[in-house]
């Protein structure tokens, strides 16, 4: 069974067994506008929670994507290279950015759940 958490930087992280998938939320995708390029981390890269993990470029600007929790990159979404618009079309599904192994469970547990994130976004 998978479990999803959210950061105040509008990333989501879905833990499924011992691997987690990371992307940006619909709110983030809508704020960025049309995504035209995504720079993804290489597999094997260890990233600390809050560390710069990826870059997403919209027509207007570049934004850093941070790791929601510490872990080691196990895969990145190569489909985004040819089709970055997937980030806008399906940000919390096909538009995922990268996967992490060895995720720090305490950090994960400390993130917002769906209800808390919704409250957070509603207050923005």
């Amino acid at each position: 069974m998978s479990e999803t958490r959210y950061t105040d930087q509008h990333e989501w992280i879905r833990l499924d067994g011992d691997e987690a998938t990371v992307g940006i939320t619909r709110y983030a995708a809508e704020s960025l506008g049309d995504v035209v390029f995504v720079e993804l981390p290489a597999a094997g890269k260890a990233i600390a929670a809050g560390g710069e993990a990826a870059v997403v470029e919209s027509v207007k600007a570049a934004s850093d994507i941070y790791a929601p929790a510490s872990g080691t990159v196990s895969a990145s979404n190569a489909a985004l290279e040819a089709a970055p618009a997937k980030v806008n079309e399906d940000p919390e599904g096909e538009g995922w950015f990268f996967k992490l192994k060895g995720v720090n469970r305490d950090e994960f547990a400390g993130l917002m759940d769906a209800a808390a994130y919704k409250t957070f976004v509603d207050g923005l």
Partner: protein, 363 residues
């Protein structure tokens, strides 16, 4: 976030109604995009037509000995024929670029109609007044609205509301009635496409905008797509690609200097601007791959910094990143391989011809 000091154009309420995402720009609250988004707005303008609110720009009329404007611009003002508009540079006393602007001689009228950039409009007009020492004087008309209708369908759309405009060719300007409102209509724009700029009284702006938006070919277009359109068209943005640190030669804008002015060398900085080889030059740059290089990115050749990107982003019509920037003149030739520093890493790129997308003007 709201800022009480920001000004609004007469179309502010319409922008909100259309779902515009408002951002601060040059002291105004302006729509950066509408719900369609920058990519669609950009592509739609190149395919059909887009309506832009550019009422933040500075309109005014110069009256008196209007040809005295040549004291602050190297453009040929005296030679501008009735019914024509022209691009000009406003120069500092040192001959660097204080702003760029459009000026028009409306048929049968003594005054020149001016449009300067939004960011420095008060300062520009004060500067012109001071330099002309009473020979001529600007009457600012910041109360007027300015709409741009751009794209291949612009003529057909505008002609439905303003018979006669189809006869205009590029850079012509007339007084006309648009959707019942008295207007100044010029066949110009800032997208590289055919199109018109339409100046109307602020009170008429919404009526005219609604009439044009009523056409099935027309979408409202925000500042985001305006920027990507002009960048693909190789058109300079003041404060980014040109400013008071560069002269017309460096900015590759010598074409805007009238032939008579070039021979007379009678404008600020003429000796330097016309004197020889500029140390650096504004060029187009095509990054390889899909990663855009943004304003400020260093341009590197053989490990040495040779320049800086002044505008950079993604060109939706090219489906590729595009940039403009200054390089040392030795590296300004088309096809010169360079590298752009993006997030600390060199990104391969090549100097490329401007415009990136061919201009589609009605000659």
């Amino acid at each position: 976030m709201t800022d009480d000091t920001l000004r609004r154009t007469p179309l502010y309420a319409l922008h909100l109604e259309l779902g515009g995402k408002m951002v601060p720009f040059a002291g105004y609250e302006m729509p950066v995009q509408y719900p369609a988004g920058i990519l669609k707005e950009h592509l739609h303008t190149r395919e059909k037509a887009g309506l832009f609110d550019v009422s933040h720009m500075g309109q005014g009329f110069l009256s008196g000995d209007v040809n005295a404007l040549e004291r602050v611009t190297p453009a040929d003002v005296a030679g501008l024929k009735d019914g024509m508009q022209r691009y000009g540079l406003l120069l500092t006393p040192e001959g660097t670029i204080k702003d760029d602007f459009m000026f028009s001689r409306l048929a049968g009228e003594a005054d020149l109609y001016l449009v300067v950039n939004a960011g420095g409009k008060e300062a520009d007009f004060a500067y012109i007044d001071a330099a002309l020492k009473g020979a001529a004087k600007v009457t600012p008309r910041f109360d007027r609205a300015l709409l741009a209708l751009q794209g291949p369908a612009a003529e057909a759309v505008l002609a439905r509301h303003a018979p006669g405009v189809a006869d205009l060719t590029f850079m012509k300007v007339i007084r006309a009635t648009v959707a019942g409102a008295p207007a100044i209509v010029s066949r110009t724009g800032y997208t590289g496409e055919d199109g018109f700029e339409i100046s109307v009284a602020g009170a008429d702006a919404e009526k005219v905008a609604r009439a044009l938006l009523g056409a099935p070919e027309v979408l409202p277009i925000g500042l985001g797509a305006r920027d990507s359109l002009r960048l693909e068209a190789g058109l300079c943005l003041y404060g980014h690609d040109i400013d008071d640190t560069v002269d017309p030669a460096e900015a590759a804008l010598l074409w805007s200097i009238g032939k008579r002015r070039r021979e007379a060398k009678d404008f600020p900085g003429a000796e330097k601007t016309l004197g020889g080889v500029a140390a650096r030059k504004l060029v187009g740059i095509r990054p390889e791959g899909r990663a855009p290089a943004r304003e400020g990115a260093e341009i590197v050749k053989d490990g040495r910094i040779i320049g800086k990107v002044t505008s950079g982003g993604f060109g939706p019509s090219l489906n590729a990143p595009v940039a403009m920037g200054y390089v040392e003149t030795a590296f300004a030739a088309d096809g010169t391989a360079v590298e752009l520093m993006v997030r600390g890493r060199p990104l391969p790129a090549a100097v490329g011809k401007l415009p990136f997308v061919p201009h589609n003007y009605r000659r």
